[in-house]
């Protein structure tokens, strides 16, 4: 029982990170109906930026904040320079651009920092650990995830800019008619998604170590999480993230073994798409024909 509890809690810890990245995916999906395959790579690249800043002697939390800001600008620039020109292209062209971004960002990061794995520090003090159940970093990562979620919720629910972003995502034409600059709202959405992705990267790096491919697996779990919760539902994506984290850990420990862990994500993705394509909390879209 004790060991089982341990597995569940560890699952929640990684689940929080899947939840962050899933949330970033959902944000871009909601605004543009595109799934950003480069989301993980963007987060990874920003984690390297944080690593450089910390190694240059900057205090951890200062580096954290600066990295999130850089990630935001990075996301806005990618939207403006890369995504904007293909906005009205066929969906396959957009997918190819996303995959190209993934490969380019991964290669450039590898070229700059090399492919050898690096350790990444955790800022959390030993006191917040839960003994044998959860390491301090796991507790801290969940805390950071929850804070990010809360901030996002407050932003979208209570600020005029958050309201404008929601409006632009669901009805661009009406949004223009009330004076919202829809193009900038999309760029802002990309910036926020990139910022969240960078938080996910920084939080997962101490566990999986820093290397240019570190987010490949995480991204797969994040896809599974987003699909389980419903690709158009932010709260669902967060729930999906925690669920996938726990399932992955518990099944890995007791049923299928660690080697097949990644298969859990793939089975979930295929399973959800076959049985319930809109996810647990997603809306079923009905169209008149």
């Amino acid at each position: 029982m004790d060991a089982f509890l341990h597995q569940v809690l560890a699952g929640l810890a990684t689940g929080g990170i899947y939840a962050s990245l899933a949330l970033a995916l959902v944000m871009i999906y909601q605004a543009t109906h595109h799934v950003n395959f480069a989301q993980g790579a963007m987060g990874m690249c920003c984690t390297y930026v944080a690593w450089s800043l910390i190694n240059a002697g900057m205090p951890y939390w200062a580096a954290f904040v600066l990295t999130v800001l850089i990630a935001f600008v990075f996301g806005v620039l990618i939207e403006r320079l890369v995504i904007r020109p293909v906005e009205n292209s066929p969906i396959l062209a957009v997918v190819v651009v996303f995959i190209a971004l993934l490969v380019i960002i991964t290669s450039i990061t590898g070229w700059i920092y090399s492919y050898t794995i690096k350790t990444f520090p955790s800022p959390f003090p030993d006191q917040i650990g839960l003994g044998r159940y959860m390491s301090p970093h796991q507790v801290g990562a969940i805390g950071v995830t929850l804070v990010v979620l809360l901030l996002l919720y407050l932003f979208f629910r209570f600020t005029p800019l958050g309201l404008a972003m929601r409006a632009a995502a669901q009805n661009p034409e009406s949004s223009r008619l009330v004076g919202i600059r829809v193009g900038w709202m999309l760029a802002l959405g990309w910036g926020l998604a990139a910022a969240i992705g960078s938080v996910a990267g920084i939080m997962i790096a101490p566990s999986v170590y820093l290397d240019p491919n570190m987010m490949a697996g995480v991204l797969l779990y994040a896809f599974a999480a987003a699909l389980v919760g419903g690709i158009d539902n932010p709260a669902g994506a967060v729930f999906g993230g925690f669920l996938v984290g726990v399932l992955e850990n518990v099944l890995g420990a007791y049923v299928i073994g660690n080697e097949l862990k990644l298969a859990v994500a793939l089975v979930l993705i295929v399973g959800v798409l076959v049985v319930r394509p809109s996810g647990f909390f997603g809306k079923v879209h009905v169209t008149r024909v």
């Binding site: 005029p160 309201l163 404008a164 929601r166 409006a167 669901q170 009805n171 034409e173 009406s174 949004s175 223009r176 008619l177 009330v178 004076g179 919202i180 600059r181 829809v182």
Partner: protein
């Protein structure tokens, strides 16, 4: 000086030209209506005025050229468009819809009092303030669309078929409120309507469009008594 003036306004969808050079103007504080059958180009005219379709020709508003400018910038000059189909933000609440109408305004306190003022015009919207706007009835959504436009504190409102799909009693109520807003707040209005009788009662001036051209213009009273208009559009 005319508040809104169009000269040689042309618009096309792809290679199909829909407007063939419209000339019209309206004075500040007045209500003007554009009448015409389905497909005459009424909706396109409104869309052309606020930069939602590509146009040629000149449009000026309060002495400034606005043709070729982005919709978002035209809104900032004080032109509010109540679009065809109402343009409801269906996933947001009624009150969020109204607040979006005031998105470009900086006077936050006045926005709060305007919200109350609008709930005064449309008490039904106050009852539904926290309800998801997509679940409102057609009439309520039309009131919401008009209210959202009013939240801009516009100088000019462009109304596209405000009576569409509404029960006659609700149309009467809505037009009564439009008249009151026009008189009390000096908001000018350009109203596109298929319900010609209602529109001519509301408006000061009228233009008749047929296949993208203006074929008749004058005061609402003169147009109403025009023999051809009476037969074709008023049906008696």
């Amino acid at each position: 000086m005319a508040l809104l003036q169009a000269a040689g306004l042309r618009a096309s969808y792809g290679i199909t030209r829909v407007l063939h050079g419209l000339d019209f103007s309206m004075a500040e504080g007045t209500i003007t209506t554009l009448l015409g059958a389905n497909g005459a180009g009424k909706t396109t005219t409104l869309r052309a005025l606020c930069g939602m379709v590509r146009t040629e020709g000149e449009v000026s508003f309060a002495g400034q050229r606005i043709d070729g400018r982005a919709t978002e910038d035209i809104v900032r000059l004080g032109i509010a468009h109540v679009p065809d189909g109402r343009g409801t933000f269906t996933m947001l609440t009624t009150e969020e819809n109204l607040r979006l109408g005031a998105y470009t305004r900086k006077d936050r306190d006045a926005v709060e009092s305007d919200l109350e003022r609008i709930y005064g015009y449309f008490p039904r919207l106050r009852e539904r303030r926290a309800q998801q706007a997509g679940t409102l009835s057609g009439g309520e959504q039309q009131m919401l669309a008009v209210s959202r436009a009013l939240m801009l504190r516009p100088k000019l409102m462009l109304l596209d078929e405000p009576s569409f799909g509404l029960a006659p009693l609700i149309v009467k109520e809505l037009f009564g409120i439009l008249k009151a807003v026009n008189e009390k707040e000096r908001v000018s209005m350009l109203v596109v309507e298929q319900n010609a009788a209602m529109a001519l009662d509301l408006a000061d001036n009228a233009y008749l469009i047929e296949t993208g051209r203006i074929v008749l213009s004058g005061s609402a009273r003169d147009i109403k008594s025009d023999e051809a208009v009476r037969r074709s559009y008023l049906g008696y």
